[in-house]
Amino acid sequence: MTSNADTTKPSVNLNNLILHLHPRRIKAPTLRFTVTFGLGGMAALLVVIQVFTGLLLKFHYEPSPDNAYNSILNLQQGLLFGQLARNLHHWSAVLLLWTTFLHMLRVLFTGAYRKPRHMNWFFGIVLLMLVILSNFTGYLLPWDQLSYWAVTISTSLLDYIPFIGSSIRESLLGGKEVDAASLTNFFNLHTGVIPVLMVVLMGYHFWRIRKAGGVIVADKDKDEPMIDTYPHLVARELVVALVLIAILFLLGSLFDAPLRERANPAISPNPAKAPWYFMGLQELLIHFHPFFAVVIFPVILLLAGFWLPYIKLTDNNQGIWFLSENGKRAGIYAFLAGLVMTILFILVSDVLPDPEMLLPFIPSLITTGFIPFLVAAGGIFLFLKYLHGKFSLNRSEYIQCVIIILVVSYTVLSFTGILFRGEGMKLMWPWQL
């Protein structure tokens, strides 16, 4: 090291690597933790941890129905740190889903989906779907009662897509039922196809951030000074990364990844539940005809997601959490309304007799599909009308309220499915399960 070494400058090698990912200088306000909560960076780090722990697990896992379960048992019981490796893979997968989802909410609630960031919004949706798919294909691999039936339920959902549904299902499973071919398919998708796609898209995703001029900033901060990425941003990233890794090791040491009895294709456990991130969907299926829960809702959501950046907006409030004071206040109303309306919907639908039994002469697509859909959509519409009158919302605040209601509803549905559904999927308190 020469005498004029400067500790505020990284070594040449490190410099090259960091400055390929980051610009040399960034806007000072983007350093504030509450601008992004570091969620995108956390997701990226978790993907790296997934790859690393996944590669370790591959040394011991055998993807065949005869050996898969035993290979997991051997890994956990016969190998030093085997259980820890699996726990870390499990918990980083759970955290990855959470951070990706929260990252998406951050982008929505700071208006960062607008042009020129729209391409990153689109590829963000694709990446979120890849994260879900990656999680889901990994779910089957332990081949226990939990994973076998969760995958059976989830893939049966595909049958309700008209015309192409059962063909998609057969391609995914490599046959009509979950068996050896399905395990081969899932293993290869999980350990090969999806990770490669994800890494490529992540590269593109990062490059687009630079292309858009860095993380979003509010108009009032546009003229703030630029500062050096190293050490200001890099030091902060390192802190977040180390805290996250510490939390992950804590989780992995304290809580084991679940493993039930070996899969038995003849007996489904009672209750049989989908993976936790699909539990909102499974809860929805108790109240809605499968065609609505599996086809109508996801298609509407996806189309709305891709259409979002093209809606003409009248304000320029991006970069500010919840857009404005008005948006914040209306958002709290939307949050409470989503909470109350969803809980009421679940309770009323539970108490009411089956509409099919009441009106057996009307097709169930109408009684358990169209009618509850109209009730739910009508309720949301009337509430938004009230909110619009109360706060005179502009368009982006209005959209924000719709998003809040949808997110809260899905969260309530998920919690109901995970915590409040016991034997026979009946409603009960968590301590009665």
Partner: protein, 171 residues
Amino acid sequence: MTPALSDKKAKDTSGRRDFLRKAWPVVGLVAAAEFLLFTINMLRPGKELSKSNPISTLKIIGNVEDFQVNSVTTDRVNKLFLVRQQDGGFLALSLICSHLGCSVAWDEPNTRFICPCHSSAFDKFGNVVNSPAARALDYFPVTIEAGKVKVDISRKMKRKKFDKSQVTYAL
């Protein structure tokens, strides 16, 4: 109106170039679609051309007299219920719920099949008595030969609801 020679030449060139510029992405998209279909096809099960020991799909479940009138027998190995109806007819119902593929169980006191996943319920003809299931349990064709009840488990039949023709009688 006669355009200058150089103009005309330029226009021709740009027309051809324009066409090629537009054609390339189309060709690329077609190639990408082909590659995608090729990939998805690799996931699907192929025809099994060589099988070490072919297993018959026609299963003998038991003798006719083994099954009491008005009873339900659970066969978890072949994933079916053999139901002997009030009038002595046989009906083989699939163990798999028509809603989302969980395995249903016979609830004797309430005389109905109940699914543990979403509490769908079916009567002993397989008809839905409680949603969310939207159609009856699948059935398998039953044949009775020389006093033996046989079920072809390769032929799982989908149906909206029960029909008399799905029941087989011992002669």
